[in-house]
Every structure is written in structure tokens, then in C-alpha cells.
Amino acid sequence: MRENLGYEKEIVTIILYTSCFLMVVAVFLVVFFYFSRKKIIQKELEKRDLEIYLNKEQLHAVIITQEDERKRIAQDLHDDISSKLNIVSLNAHLLSAPNLTEAETKEITENIINLTAKALENSRKIAHNLLPPVFEKFGLNAGIEELCEEFESSKSVNVNYTNELDLDDKDIDRHLHVFRILQELMNNSLRHGKATQIWIAFKNVNGINTCNYEDNGVGFDSKKADNQKGLGMKNIDSRISFLNGTINFTAEIGSGFAVVFTF
């Protein structure tokens, strides 16, 4: 009888401890889930804030680029066209002066003709820089060929361009982005990289249009934060995101700069 009672007591204790153990663990699990949910939601919010911040940043970059571009155009207009037209107008006034000899009239007219020709040439250049007519008329391939020629003729750099893609002229809006990216990259290679060789290749990799760009310039330390997101790079990034593409930079000091992007 006594032994039996002890045994029963034992069973009850065991049941009590077991249920206590399970209950406390259950409580802890519930608390765990509660806090986990909270943490995940908070993380999600942080992510969204970051996204908004990045969007703002991008918008900022767009505005700044726009302003810079305006400034550049204004300067070009002022320096190359307005100044020349000023002198033309002065000369025209001189023409209307009385008692001019034949030789003077001839000299002034020649001046005017020269200056207007220069102003015309300059305005053509400015328009060309803004949107190359070859690109608009004959598409990306021709546009890049012309760009390469321009770089080779004026800036002592050797450009190798190959194209294995069949580019559709209907995509001209998208191609403009590609054109601008290459323009920016080439400018960077010259200005910052002091490159003497540039390779550009369009390829079709697994059905995706891919562009390999490479130069032999001084390169830069891609791990340094200042180098990662200059205004130009931001511009390229947002163009790539317009194209739903991807972009990969590899750069090291002394071994040039390479970019692969898809569009």
C-alpha cells in the first residue's frame, strides 16, 4: 500500500514536471514568434525606407545632371555662337557707315562671311553633341561607329568596335540609353583613365543582348566608396534600370577598367 502510494506520487510529479516543461516551452515559443514577427516587419519597413531614399537620391541625380547639361549648353551657345554673332552684328553696322572704300567693304563682308560660317559650324556641332543625326537616321550601330571615329580622330585613342547583334530600329529609344552609356564610359576612360585603347563588343549571350566594354587606362580602386557612385555612374545605373538590364564593373588600380552590361 505504502509502496503503491509512493509510486503514484512519483507518477504525478513526473506528469507535473512534464506538463510544466511543455507549457513553459510553449509560452517561450509564442513569445519567440511574437518578437520574430515584429522584427521581420521592422526589417521590411527599413527596407522600404531605404528604397524611398534611393529613389530620392536618383531623382536628385537626374535633376543635377539636367542642370549641368543646361549649363553646358548655355556656355556653348554663349562662347561659340553669341560671341561670333556679336561681331557679325558689329561688322554689319560698320557696313552701313558712310564713305567706305571698296577695299574696306570687301574686308568687312569677308569677315561677316567667315564668322557666320564659323557660327554655323559651331551650332551644328552643338546640335550634333546633343543628339547625333547619324544615330537618329541610321540607328545605334552607325551612331557608335561615328562616335568611335570621332574619338579616334580628335582624342588620340584607339577604339575597337565589334557588333554581332542585329539591332532593331524600333528600339531606338532603348538604344539611345545604350549610346549614352557608352558615351559616358568613353568620356570617363579618357578623362579619368587616360586610356589609349578601348574595346567595345556587342554580343548575344544566351539570348540576352550584352555589351562588353574595356579600356587599358589607369583604373581605380573599386572598393573605395567615392569611386562607386559618381554622378556619371549614377546616371549609367539609372539608364540600366530603364533598360531592365544588369551591370557589372571590374576595376583595379593599374589594370584598366571593364564593364559588362545587358540591355
Partner: protein, 210 residues
């Protein structure tokens, strides 16, 4: 069959101790408390085996094993935590638990020769809580000792209930007596497979730790 389960468990334990000490001493990557835990587990297992063959009561060692498991796993998880509050919590909880358990043993020394239910419950609970806190920390961070923690929680749930029932099984007939221990040996093997898997995932690869 029983012997096979038990010795296979020892076998995996020995492998784990070997692998983790290799990682610790050669590459200095594995956690020191984890290695200590594994080494102590091995020592306790062999001690229990030894006492069993001498026909002595080896439950003293088992109770010691629970204490050691709580303390070393607690310190192991404490070293993984980043927040000061969590680190403090581990120390305070361990201190309190040890104080209560040791004072109970001093008050009634006979407790250590049977299944000390209170001790088993407290130590297992705290170990599960430490593991859960680690899970919570891992939610948004990189996975670190993920599989090991799964193993710890799984084994604590199954093993604890079996140990709590331990005193009951003594009164059962021989046919059923060993059923729960067979189950425990099996759980032990699963647990150490998780630890082994953790080593494969985290330490076997050369290069950076995941």
C-alpha cells in the same frame, strides 16, 4: 540492436569531437565552448559506460551531464549573441539556476542518485531558451550554427520528456524498460548528426565561414 544504437551514438560523438577540435586547433574557427561541450559529453558518456560495467549507479554523471550541457551551451550561445542585454541574461539565468540546483543538492544529496526532475526541467528549459534567442537573432542576420541549433531544440524536446519519465521506467518490466532508452539513443544519434552536418556546412569548406 540496443548496443548498436548506443555505440553508433558514441561513434558519431567521437567523430564530432575530432572534427571540431581539428577546426579549432588547426584553423581556429570553431567555438571553444562548443568544443568543450562535445569533449565533456564524450567524457561523461564514457564515464557512464564505465560505471555501468562496474555495476554502479551512473545517474550522478547523468545529472552532471545536464548541468554541464546547460552551462556550456549557455556560454556558447552567449558568445554568439551581439546584444549586451542577452549576454547579461545568460549569465544571470545560469547563475540563478546553478545556485538553486546546487543548494537543492546540498539540502538533499540523495537527489543525485535518481532522475532529478527539477534539475532536468530547469536545465533543458534554459538551453531551449538560449537556442530560441539565437534563432531570433538569426532571423535577419547570416545563419550561424543554424543546423546545430535545430538539433539542440529537437533533442531537448524529445530527450527531456524521456528523462523526466526516467524514474518511472525503473519500475517497469524489462521488456518495456529499455524502449524509452532506445528512443533516446536514437534521438542522440539524430542530434549528433545535426552537429556533424553543421560542421560540414560551416567548417569543412575552405575560405570564409558562411
Amino acid at each position: 540492436m540496443d548496443d548498436f544504437l548506443i555505440y553508433f551514438g558514441y561513434f558519431i560523438l567521437v567523430i564530432n569531437v575530432g572534427l571540431y577540435s581539428y577546426s579549432f586547433f588547426r584553423k581556429e574557427k570553431a567555438n571553444v565552448f562548443l568544443l568543450l561541450y562535445l569533449v565533456f559529453s564524450l567524457l561523461v558518456q564514457f564515464g557512464m559506460e564505465f560505471l555501468y560495467h562496474l555495476k554502479m549507479n551512473n545517474l550522478v554523471l547523468m545529472n552532471f551531464y545536464f548541468l554541464e550541457q546547460m552551462v556550456l551551451l549557455g556560454l556558447f550561445y552567449r558568445s554568439l549573441y551581439q546584444q549586451v542585454v542577452q549576454k547579461k541574461f545568460v549569465l544571470i539565468a545560469l547563475g540563478l539556476a546553478l545556485l538553486i540546483l546546487i543548494s537543492r543538492l546540498v539540502y538533499d544529496p540523495s537527489l543525485q542518485f535518481k532522475f532529478n526532475l527539477f534539475q532536468i526541467t530547469i536545465t533543458s528549459l534554459l538551453t531551449v531558451v538560449f537556442a530560441l534567442i539565437h534563432f531570433y537573432n538569426m532571423l535577419t542576420e547570416n545563419k550561424q550554427y543554424y543546423y546545430l541549433t535545430i538539433g539542440v531544440i529537437g533533442y531537448m524536446f524529445g530527450g527531456t520528456v524521456l528523462f523526466l519519465l526516467g524514474n518511472l521506467t525503473i519500475g517497469l518490466s524489462d521488456d518495456f524498460k529499455y524502449l524509452s532508452w532506445r528512443l533516446n539513443a536514437f534521438l542522440f544519434i539524430v542530434y549528433h548528426f545535426f552537429i556533424l552536418f553543421e560542421w560540414v556546412k560551416s567548417f569543412s569548406k575552405k575560405g570564409v565561414k558562411v
